[in-house]
Amino acid sequence: MSASAKPIANTRSVTGIPTARLITWWVIASEIVIFGGLLASYIMHRIAHPEWAESASHTLTWAGAVNTFVLLTSSLCAVLAHKAADAHDGPKAAKLLRLTSLGGLIFLCIKGYEWTLDIREGFVISSGGFWSFYYTLAGLHGLHVLAGMIIMLVVAADAAKNEELQRVECIGLYWHFVDIVWIFLFPLLYIAR
């Protein structure tokens, strides 16, 4: 379906916020409670089980820190893509979005390597309460990174043709949210011990 087949419903904006950005904010709101629920459950258990600190000391802080750096840099690329889209420079926005996506890929590769090291040490998801939460939290986050990467590449393909540039900001908003979740996961899983 081509862009010209958009319903009138999509083009109106009674709130003053374009529909694409509006739906992005609602998606982020719903994700806050999903991650919030999982994080709240983890925090409660962590405080209730001080003995988990021993397990937590085995997470690879350097991997977490490098990944934080990678995500922060990819967020920079995403917001620069937004700036390019605002200047109606679709190809530049596409390039920056693809760089952001690459950052996501690097994040996932480092995580894959980190988890390989953890598993070799014998720490798997069923190794205990801490590890169950560790893999579930980081795994759910990783799934969101992956989904974001894929959507980002689709948006980039349109942006390269100067089409649907409003979506650049929207996928960027989603990406920044995923970054913020990691900003909290990093201390919770890697630092607090």
């Binding site: 916020i17 629920g37 994080l39 209730a48 967020s75 605002d86 909290f184 201390p187 919770l188 630092i191």
Partner: protein, 117 residues
């Protein structure tokens, strides 16, 4: 449909540099032996970083006010969840009661299915 720019774009690279600096602070702080320093380095820095990303990258402060309220209300619901559940899951005792750890040697009742692992 083209974007009508609704934000002024600040110097994003500068913000990024501040964020990376804060990351380094939090990693260095985590190596301290003083508990308060570690906690501030970990969570205080995280809060500041999150605020910077929300404000400068997501432009939440330029967005319609009710969007911020929506996001804050969602966080509030999680706080309510925590407040309602923590007394059961987080605490192991109250003024007049304790939660005893499960007795591993307990036998299943008559006619019950065999215990799973």
């Amino acid at each position: 449909m083209t974007t009508e720019a609704h934000v002024q774009h600040p110097n994003y690279v500068k913000i990024w540099a501040i964020l990376v600096g804060l990351l380094i602070v939090s990693v260095l702080g985590s190596m301290s032996h003083i508990r308060e320093v570690v906690l501030i380095a970990a969570f205080g820095v995280a809060l500041v970083k999150a605020y910077l990303v929300a404000k400068n990258f997501m432009h939440v402060n330029v967005e319609k006010r009710w969007v911020s309220y929506l996001l804050i209300i969602c966080l509030l619901f999680i706080a309510i969840l925590f407040a309602g559940v923590a007394p059961d899951v987080m605490k192991h005792g109250g003024l007049h009661w304790t939660k005893n750890p499960v007795d591993q040697s307990a036998q299943p009742g008559v006619g019950a299915a065999p215990k799973n692992e």
